[in-house]
Amino acid sequence: MATNGHDEGGPSGHDEGEPSGHDEGRPKRPGEAGGPRERRRAGLRNALIGLAASAALVSPVLRREPRDGFPLSTYPMFSEHRERELTLVHAVAAFEGGERKPLPPRLLGTEEVLQARSLLRRSVEAGEAPALCARVAERLRAEGPRPAFQAAREVEVRTDTYDVLSYYETRTPARPGVVHARCPI
């Protein structure tokens, strides 16, 4: 980038113009500017850099099919209209009597909830739910007894559908879910 002059002396570092008459023979210090013509030239160059940076930032949105990426993004978070029903693959600990508790992402091998969601979904799509379920059960056993899951009997990888707006009161799925894999703990 042209702004990285780091000009600790020498003509190659004079990125804002040649030294004026008074500067000749004296090493130029960082930050010193040249004459008006040089400043104008540097200004135009910086304007081009700004234009290029802006174009790069906006480019994902200008595609016919906008595609999110990193670090150039369309910033699509929470932008699309969604129905109030949500279908979700998750891993739960199943207890005697039918109670179920969601298992935290670390038992899936990640600290990130969104990575955990992606991992669960793709495992089910790829038919790998039993293997994932076994790994989760293994990690749960390896962690030792935890109060929250001490009485759990098995791990389930399952898909459930919820009504988002009533879930807060009911805390239950809107209809019976699908179990993809069950593993004893």
Binding site: P71, T74, R82, P104, P105, V164, Y168
Partner: protein, 312 residues
């Protein structure tokens, strides 16, 4: 009577605005603040950045710089790249051998964050900080308040356009990211997004997902779902902040007002969705809009150094 000064052409006025002179300490202060942020980021996130090495290979969906890797890297290489980035972050923050470590850290941060985002989920909380580091790493942001400046000695460098331009660029990048977020909402859901129902459902989805995936969620966001009237003002406010971002480029009071509004917006996101946009919430994302040197050097600046002796 003096003749009126000739009007400067629009291009000249634009260039004067786009590359204003600024103290080296202002740009350097932004580097220090961003450096502190990234050091904190590595202290808290290094474990997560490295944890992707344990994810199944089939999950790998490379984005950004990680697209250069045809397949997931061996775990030791992932750990080494995170460690190298953390070390380079120290050099970046302290301005040590910046000519090399500035661009190096920018590249390493881009690499490790790209790699982290290549496992099925893009974390939009990192984009702005990474973009700012890319600019700072390539700018002369260590001409003051740095190990390099201390080693060089002498008076601080004079104010220069080369310090003002990167600051303008940082501001522009910030503004564009917010506008893009607004464009995405209007493009995907229309102006009806401002009616609030889309936002209400999203808050419900996000919190429900977190609960059912065993993560922390926002009880406040959940509780508010029962009060639909709350959401239209929040949604309208969100769009106002996002599309109002260009006002911040005016500087002064408009910038101050917008930055506070944007900060409040992120505080709301944290309260209702439990999503921490640490970079803007720390205030550091907005530092380029202000005289950041007042934070690092204190309000009372040392007197300007005497002009250089130019007597032949």
């Amino acid at each position: 009577m003096a003749a009126p000064a000739p009007a400067r052409p629009a291009l000249e006025r634009f260039l004067a605005w786009w590359t204003p002179p600024a103290p080296a300490a202002r740009l350097a202060s932004v580097r220090v603040l961003v450096g502190v942020y990234v050091l904190g980021y590595f202290a808290l996130r290094a474990r997560h950045l490295a944890a992707v090495a344990r994810l199944p290979e089939g999950q790998f969906r490379p984005v950004g710089l990680a697209a250069l890797a045809p397949a997931p890297l061996p775990a030791p290489l992932v750990y080494a790249s995170v460690a190298a980035a953390a070390l380079a972050a120290v050099a970046f923050a302290t301005g040590f051998r910046y000519r090399v470590t500035g661009p190096l850290f920018a590249a390493l941060l881009l690499w490790v964050t790209s790699y982290r985002n290549s496992w099925g989920m893009i974390f939009h909380t990192d984009n702005l900080a990474v973009a700012h580091v890319l600019v700072l790493g390539l700018a002369p942001a260590a001409d003051a308040l740095s190990r390099d400046a201390g080693r060089r000695g002498g008076p601080p460098p004079p104010d220069g356009h080369r310090y003002g331009f990167p600051l303008r660029l940082l501001c522009l990048i910030t503004v564009i990211t917010y506008v893009l977020a607004g464009v995405a909402k209007v493009r995907n859901a229309g102006l009806g997004w401002a009616a609030g129902e889309t936002l209400r459902i999203w808050i419900g989805i996000d919190n429900l997902r977190k609960m059912e995936l065993g993560d922390l969620y926002s009880p406040l966001g959940f509780a508010l779902l029962r009060h639909p009237w709350v959401f239209p003002p929040f949604a309208a406010y969100t769009l106002l902040v996002e599309f109002g971002a260009p006002l911040a480029l005016l500087g002064g009071r408009p910038a101050k007002i917008w930055c506070w509004c944007a900060w409040l917006f992120h505080a709301g996101v944290l309260a209702f969705m439990g999503i921490l946009f640490a970079y803007p919430l720390s205030g550091i994302a907005f530092a380029p809009f202000f005289g950041a040197e007042r934070l690092t050097l204190g309000r009372r600046q040392p007197p300007d150094p005497p002009p250089p002796d130019v007597t032949p």
